[in-house]
């Protein structure tokens, strides 16, 4: 059955006319996907999902190697790929850390050094509390946090990164104060919440799905413009689409998402950027990709070219403003 689906998809892909231009670029040696995070995390799974789709549908002729360079919160990967100037066989897989890392740490790269190829997926953020906590929505929880006078603990992954930024947004929105406690990963934060050692966290759905199923944690709302797409039930009674948006519940935060991005080293030919953008476009249409999105409860949104550039510029400016207010900027 699954084979049949894949065969059909391959046939469909084969039938779509490949754009052939005069100065077409093609990989001529093995390709390296460099993940800007440690093995086993969201970035690693993202890179491997792309690898899987490309391999299954033979979208390129060369083998692909996935390497994780998570040192310095991912700075290692960017430095490594930056050093491969002009070699489009090395691609760096990251998140918004492409442009947020250079703001908070003294690293030897800027986001403008790289040629962004595509953003393929946006990871959602949710407000989670312990499974048996008495809160039912954004308002009731943040009101309780506010009256607790800054003693509520918000667990999160890493410091001065997406989780802590979102925590600041919530504080500004509601006037509540949290003690933010950074852990090495969202998974660790989720275990701390399950054990009752923190009051909440703002994990991505895939980081807490296991604990949600077991009823140890529960999502109050998702920081998105609209609810997540309908899918299978996750717990006995609820699926991802049953989670209200925080905006519905009266939050002043419109949306908060983290893009998963792929970039090429500086000086790569434009033809290579277009080649990879085309490959990733095809990847985003495979059944493997749909399965990946559903499994990790992320929003698939393919973005490339001018759209992507504009998105990065806006998000960079917005984040820079927050970091400036917090005194986190070093560059």
């Amino acid at each position: 059955m699954r084979l049949a689906v894949i065969v059909a998809a391959v046939a469909a892909l084969g039938a779509s006319p490949a754009p052939l231009s005069a100065q077409e670029w093609k990989p001529t040696k093995p390709v390296e996907f460099v993940g800007a995070a440690g093995p086993g995390g969201g970035t690693d799974i993202f890179a491997r999902a792309v690898q899987l789709a490309i391999q299954n549908h033979k979208l390129i002729d060369q083998p692909i190697l996935v390497a994780n360079k998570g040192g310095g919160s991912g700075a290692e990967a960017f430095v490594y790929v930056k050093a491969a100037t002009g070699d489009p066989h090395k691609l760096v897989f990251g998140t918004s850390n492409l442009y947020t890392l250079p703001m908070v740490a003294k690293v030897a790269f800027k986001h403008t050094d790289f040629l962004p190829v595509a953003a393929m997926v946006f990871d959602e953020f949710m407000l989670w509390v312990k499974g048996d906590a008495p809160y039912s929505d954004y308002k009731s929880y943040t009101a309780a946090a506010k009256s607790a006078n800054g003693t509520y603990k918000m667990a999160g992954a890493l410091s001065k990164d997406t989780d802590q930024t979102l925590t600041r947004y919530i504080e500004k929105d509601t006037g509540a104060k949290f003690i933010y406690i950074p852990y090495r990963s969202g998974g660790e934060a989720s275990v701390q919440l399950s054990g009752g050692h923190a009051n909440s966290h703002v994990n991505n759905p895939s980081e807490s799905v296991g604990h949600w199923k077991a009823g140890q944690v529960k999502p109050l709302c998702v920081f998105a413009k609209e609810r997540m797409p309908k899918g299978a039930k996750v717990t006995e009674t609820q699926g991802w689409s049953d989670i209200p948006t925080c905006k519905e519940q009266g939050a002043g935060i419109e949306e908060y998402q983290m893009p998963r991005t792929v970039s090429l080293p500086p000086g790569s030919p434009q033809a290579a950027v277009e080649f990879w953008a085309g490959v990733f476009k095809k990847v985003s249409e495979t059944p493997e990709w749909k399965e990946y999105l559903e499994r990790t409860a992320q929003t698939g949104r393919y973005m490339a070219g001018a759209d992507l550039k504009a998105f990065i510029e806006t998000d960079e400016k917005r984040t820079r403003k927050v970091y400036e207010d917090e005194g986190w900027l070093v560059n």
Binding site: D44, A67, G72, V79, V191, Q192
Partner: protein, 508 residues
């Protein structure tokens, strides 16, 4: 018993020819990566991972975990024969394993190591089988203060053992802590001690340090001592193995203590390296034969090996049930689980019993396979010892540097390995112990994170380490151990009993 029924169901899943063949392949590959210093289990599993994408999850995890068992076993072989640990978790095995080999007891040392390791692994799996539900709930009670207390305990049980010169030990520990702080700081999100060098972004990997200190450092010393290889001929005969097996029950205290330490550190998760150090430290402190430690005492091999494997096995439970990996290799495998479409977490046991219990059953079988295979490969590695040093020495250098390269595929790592080789040489010449440095490097940054998280939680009050009975008990134990020499002296004065005073023994 529910769990036993599930386990038999699991055996049904794991006991197919295909799966047994995968175990054999996995264990053999594991022994290979385990023997090569630097090329450890996490690298091996990462390299093998893409091959498993098309496999059924049960087969995939059996292949990867078998490789892990093989690597854990293989790491001890070179520790004992060459004094070069193949894995960081077998550093503690060199303390007594290599002296045993030097005294012509290589077969005994290897057999003790493998058999006690098998015992530790078995205890680990049994705990997982019987207590999975309870252990998972227990692990959830651990937060940052408890983690810090556990790291403190690991440290306390090892500290003060080097005997020779407390100041030199202190220098070694502090250097280890300093090296551990290099790179990105989790709590503040800033870079520390990188001095603007991109090469230091990643921090200093303890794999590289172990390769340098032990591998390269050891070779430099050997060269100075006249190009004579100190490894000893090891012939494994079945009767030798059986004779060792018969002697094993005599060390039941070390076996049980090692297993408990291992299982505890695997679950909490301190990891196999910290577990083996802690177990060795405790054995040396409380054993009746403690005076012989460091001179080739079998108990000094049994203690760390049992704990190492107990921890390696037990670390699978928090990975499956909570989604927190208890070791670096478990972290890589967890990534694999997500790719195969499984969500690690409490529901995995209920949703995918085939997978979970198939894996647990395969852990029983895989470890038996590993013990047999690793014993079978000993003659092969022992044969290497007959090759003249002028040939094998350079080969080991090459292997060390290949190992250093595979850690992160980065050139500066090679220089670090070389640098730490010189450090190891100088340390040995000046009689500084290197083990405290390795231990501080392995758990230093984790302990620091846990401490600072605790301080954030309590807003700066140290009382958090006595906030509940669990953390209070661990903290008290650790403090008792740190101050043990004082207590020992006191007891001796008052009762006139000869107690656990640690003999000054050189810890290489």
């Amino acid at each position: 018993m529910d769990n036993l029924g599930s386990l038999f169901h699991g055996f049904g899943v794991a006991l197919t020819w295909y799966h047994v063949a995968l175990m054999l392949v996995g264990v053999l590959l594991g022994i290979l990566v385990g023997v090569l210093p630097g090329l450890g289990a996490p690298n091996g599993v990462t390299i093998l991972m893409p091959l498993t994408f098309t496999m059924d999850p049960v087969s995939a995890i059996i292949l990867l975990t078998s490789m892990y068992w093989g690597a854990l076993f293989g790491g001890s072989t070179t520790s004992i024969l060459f004094n070069i640990p193949g894995e960081p978790s077998s550093v503690a095995t060199t303390f007594d394993g290599h002296p045993m080999a030097k005294q012509g007891q290589a077969v005994e040392a290897l057999s003790f190591a493998f058999l006690s390791a098998g015992f530790g692994a078995l205890v680990g799996v049994i705990v997982i089988t019987v207590l999975s539900g309870w252990v998972t709930r227990f692990a959830l009670r651990f937060s940052s203060p408890e983690y810090f207390a556990v790291y403190f305990l690991a440290f306390a049980s090892f500290i003060g053992l080097a005997g020779a010169n407390p100041v030199k030990t202190l220098v070694s520990i502090l250097l280890g802590f300093a090296f551990a702080t290099v790179g990105m700081d989790t709590i503040s999100g800033s870079l520390r001690l990188t001095f603007g060098f991109d090469e230091l972004l990643r921090g200093i990997s303890f794999l590289i340090v172990v390769i340098g200190l032990f591998g390269i450092g050891e070779l430099l010393l050997t060269m100075e001592e006249g190009l004579k290889f100190e490894g000893v001929k090891a012939k494994v005969s079945l009767s030798g193995v059986l004779a060792t097996l018969a002697r094993l029950p005599r060390y039941w205290v070390a076996l049980i203590r090692g297993s408990l330490v291992g299982v505890w550190m695997g679950i909490t998760p301190g990891g196999p390296t910290a577990a083996s150090f802690m177990s060795y430290g405790l054995a040396k402190r409380f054993s009746r034969r403690r005076a012989n430690f460091g001179k080739g005492e079998p108990e000094g091999v049994i203690a760390p090996e049992t704990a190492d494997h107990g921890a390696g096995t037990a670390a699978m439970l928090p990975m499956l049930a909570l989604g927190i990996p208890g070791s670096a290799t478990a972290a890589v495998m967890m990534g694999g689980l997500m790719i195969w479409g499984l969500n690690p977490g409490p529901m995995l046991f209920i949703e995918r019993p085939d997978f979970v219990w198939g894996l647990i059953a395969s852990m029983y079988l895989g470890n038996v396979v590993a013990v047999v295979l690793v014993l079978a490969t000993v003659p092969l590695f022992a044969a290497i010892l007959r090759i003249p040093f002028a040939i094998i020495g350079p080969v080991i250098v090459v292997v060390c540097f290949i190992g250093a390269w595979t850690v992160g595929a980065s050139k500066p790592d090679l220089w670090f390995a070389f640098f730490f080789g010189l450090v190891g040489y100088v340390f040995k010449k000046l009689d500084y112990p290197v083990a405290p440095l390795v231990l501080a490097l392995v758990i230093g940054d984790k302990a620091e994170d846990a401490f600072r998280q605790s301080m954030l939680m309590s807003q700066g009050s140290l009382r958090i380490f006595y906030e509940n009975p669990l953390v209070g008990t661990i903290t008290t134990l650790a403090i008792l151990l740190v101050t043990w020499p004082l207590w020992a002296m006191l007891i001796e004065r008052v009762w006139g009993v000869r107690t656990a005073r640690v003999q000054p023994v050189d810890l290489e």
